[in-house]
């Protein structure tokens, strides 16, 4: 397995070529690149930063889990940090497998899970300002339960019911909003 965090350009074609073996019938590649806008707001560049050691360990764990879960032969996960320009590769995932179904499934699962659990963040620099991208809510087994953190705080009142929290999560999954609408909504209610 090739698991890396790099500050340099990701050599996508080279990595894909290296991943192929005689027993493979499929190689599925996900090449995540920097888009030139977020919701129509023009992006100049993105700055990625990570909790590097933990991110690498999380990526290793995901790759091993993908192999075990989908039965694919090999996986490569490479993420770049630092300043990236429009069109550059920020993340590359390659899955090699005897059959295409498992390769597609593993590839999709890897990028979706990476985006929710690997501690990497990006700051978007627009023509008219910069903002940290909101990110997706943590899965319930990773995020702190709201009740256990707020329970002892008399001034904060009761935690919101699950349905409010859940709808907040759904809103935020629609897109990487810049203004974090779900969270602002909660703040206003409070």
């Amino acid at each position: 397995m090739r698991i890396e965090i790099t500050d340099g350009v990701i050599a996508a074609e080279e990595i894909v070529a290296e991943m192929k073996a005689g027993t493979d019938g499929a190689v599925c590649v996900f090449d995540g690149i920097v888009r030139d806008n977020t919701r129509g707001r023009r992006t100049l560049h993105l700055d990625y930063e990570a909790y590097r050691e933990m991110a690498l360990e999380q990526m290793r764990g995901l790759a091993a889990e993908a192999v075990a879960k989908f039965g694919v032969r090999d996986v490569a996960v490479v993420h770049r940090l630092g300043r990236l320009l429009v069109g550059e590769t920020s993340v590359l995932i390659v899955v090699a497998s005897a059959h295409r179904g498992a390769a597609f499934d593993a590839c999709r699962w890897l990028i979706d899970t990476l985006k929710k659990t690997v501690p990497i963040w990006k700051k978007e620099q627009f023509v008219d300002g910069a903002v940290w991208a909101d990110g997706e809510p943590f899965p319930s087994d990773i995020g702190l339960p709201r009740t256990s953190v707020t329970g002892a705080q008399s001034a904060d009142g009761e935690p919101f019911p699950d349905e409010i929290v859940a709808s907040k999560s759904a809103d935020r999954l629609v897109g990487e909003s810049v203004d974090e609408p779900g969270v602002d909504d909660v703040g206003r209610i409070r």
Binding site: G32, Y51, S90, V118, A133, F138, S148, Q153
Partner: protein, 102 residues
């Protein structure tokens, strides 16, 4: 020799009841605090939830941010009830946004 005794006395008084952890900030929290990390002194036996109670009082300019973060201790995701130890590396992690655009 004398210095050594003095140090151990200080340690007995301060360290017995308190412990220190290093807290790392990332993304929006790093900007909000203007710092990458901080050493925090906590009562012995404090949990992750106890530490979060301290932080929730701090204004970071985004309503609800504290409800959305995860906490890692020594580079592993942790639960609110987990007890912290002297010298732990605690990381406050805003929702992650690695990978590519949605």
């Amino acid at each position: 020799m004398f210095r050594g005794i003095q140090e151990s006395k200080t340690c007995a008084r301060v360290c017995f009841w308190n412990m220190r952890v290093q807290v790392l900030y990332f993304g929006v929290l790093k900007d909000a605090f203007g710092s990458e990390s901080e050493v925090l002194e906590l009562a012995e036996g404090s949990s992750v939830a106890d530490l979060m109670r301290i932080y929730r009082g701090r204004d970071v300019g985004r309503a609800g941010l504290w409800d959305s973060i995860a906490v890692a201790v020594n580079q592993e995701y942790t639960q609110a009830g987990d007890v912290l130890q002297e010298g732990d590396e605690v990381a406050l992690l805003p929702p992650v946004s690695g990978g590519c655009a949605v």
